[in-house]
């Protein structure tokens, strides 16, 4: 097909598989680290709040490829032989936790203060108020921006090409070197990225519209 064999398209799909794996790892890791980051900003004391704010600003201030390099080469200096997947996953975790933490902080703060107050007046403890009143509402608010950020995660995994991680972008690069059909191959890669991201942004958009209608 267009001078590229089916096997070679299969090679791209293989790369796409690792893009999805890395995206999921980045999202899960970003959630595990990002949630405490958000909570520290909301309810932590002065120190936790400052520390997590600093963390967010620090990570957001560094380009993702540089984070990839730092993790990949930095960790191996200390004698650990990291493979590219582990390094890329750590870098994606750092990157997405900073953004998710910031997004979720906003979502928690978007729940009106009067909801905290209503729970307080019913003698609920801080934790009970957070779990039963604030969190369910914040989660609903968080779905569109979180799914939207998933799209960023998927696209930005392509930076892992700088440390030689075999993902969709990397497989396209290799294939191009073998076939010299850059337009066909990178268009195919673009279409695969789009096929992964489009349903996500569609879903985010629809969920958002539904929320707006409900609160209209």
């Amino acid at each position: 097909m267009l001078g590229v064999s089916l096997d070679q398209y299969g090679f791209l799909v293989q790369g796409a598989f690792w893009t999805v794996v890395l995206s999921l790892m980045g999202f899960v890791g970003g959630t595990i680290v990002g949630l405490p980051v958000a909570l520290a900003r909301i309810s932590g004391g002065w120190f936790l709040c400052r520390a997590s704010s600093l963390y967010v600003q620090f990570v957001q201030g560094i380009p993702l490829p540089v984070i990839m390099f730092v993790v990949y080469f930095g960790v191996s200096i200390y004698g650990f032989d990291v493979n590219a997947l582990v390094a890329a996953a750590i870098a994606m975790t750092l990157y997405s936790s900073a953004y998710l933490g910031e997004i979720w902080k906003g979502c928690i703060q978007a729940v009106p203060k009067t909801q905290w107050e209503a729970g307080e007046c019913l003698a609920l403890t801080n934790l009970q108020r957070f779990i039963y009143i604030i969190l369910p509402q914040a989660l609903r608010i968080a779905v569109p921006p979180t799914v939207g950020f998933l799209v960023q995660i998927v696209k930005n995994t392509s930076y892992s090409v700088v440390i030689g991680f075999f993902d969709l972008t990397y497989s396209a690069k290799i294939l191009n070197n073998a076939t010299f059909k850059p337009f066909v191959i990178f268009t195919a890669a673009a279409l695969i990225y789009f096929a992964i991201c489009f349903p996500l942004s569609r879903y985010a958009r629809r969920f958002e519209l539904r929320l707006h209608r409900r609160h209209a």
Binding site: T114, E117, G119, E120, L122, A123, T125, I133
Partner: protein, 260 residues
């Protein structure tokens, strides 16, 4: 300009021997930064009494009400509620909250929970009721506010008046000794205020002790044992509802005359 303190005006149910007031303000002061909002409030509400706080916007009514359940901390004086001194060292805010219900102008229902879940959340989590107990409780308090058929609705499916009645039921489900109402009909369309006021009137007739901030003068006159006119952070005039027919101060006369 005369400031008539509580002591100089006849209080409907004068404190009897042995009966402690449910709410007792003694020279209570409250400031927000440099702004002194309560400038020495004295007020007693006896068990079973209904006290109505009236006055212009900004006179400190809401602040006084919020002090009663500890939403605002007082800066001076003594405030005793349900036998608890709010400034005592061993004062337990959550214990007070179990005994004092409050309803706000803006309902503040939990939008993600059904009416029944709104009503039973605190009884289950705070008082440890199980599923069947809490269902029975919800049925009881929703009946009290006339919304038995709305248990499985979500707040957004209800009218403002219905939402406010759910908010009242939610407070009642904690079986409070004292209920506070802050302009609970002010956000409602005029045709919906009646259903809410009727519920409050029924509670009053049932012997519930309450303090309510209201702009509904006719209602205050009818239901309140004690009407308290607040002005510039002070109790300016207080007495029975008939006080409104014969104001002793220029300020109350103007306030009543303004038709608020």
């Amino acid at each position: 300009m005369t400031v008539i303190s509580m002591n100089s005006v006849h209080t409907p149910a004068a404190p009897q021997d042995g009966v402690q007031p449910m709410v007792s303000f003694r020279d209570v002061r409250k400031s927000f930064g440099a702004l002194e909002v309560l400038k020495g409030i004295d007020l007693d509400v006896m068990p079973g009494q209904v006290a109505a706080l009236i006055g212009r916007s900004g006179s400190g009514k809401s602040t006084a009400l919020r002090c009663i359940n500890g939403l605002e901390k007082i800066n001076g004086g003594e405030l005793t509620v349900c036998g608890r001194n709010l400034r005592a060292r061993d004062f337990e805010l959550r214990e007070l909250r179990k005994e004092v219900g409050i309803v706000f102008q803006s309902y503040n229902l939990f939008p993600h929970l059904t009416v029944e879940q709104n009503v039973t959340l605190a009884p289950r989590k705070v008082n440890g009721l199980d599923a069947s107990e809490s269902r029975a409780l919800a049925a009881e308090v929703l009946e009290q506010v006339g919304l038995s058929d709305k248990a499985s609705s979500y707040p957004e499916q209800l009218s403002g008046g219905q939402q406010q009645r759910v908010a009242i039921a939610r407070s009642l489900a904690m079986r409070p000794k004292l209920m506070l109402f802050d302009e609970v009909t002010s956000a409602l369309d005029p045709e919906l205020t009646g259903e809410v006021l009727r519920v409050i009137g029924k509670l009053a007739a049932g012997g519930m002790t309450m303090v309510l901030v209201t702009h509904e003068m006719a209602f205050a006159r009818q239901v309140a044992d004690l009407v308290v006119y607040m002005h510039q952070g002070r109790v300016w005039e207080a007495g029975k509802g008939t006080m409104l027919d014969d104001p002793q101060t220029v300020e109350l006369r103007q306030f009543v005359g303004s038709g608020l």
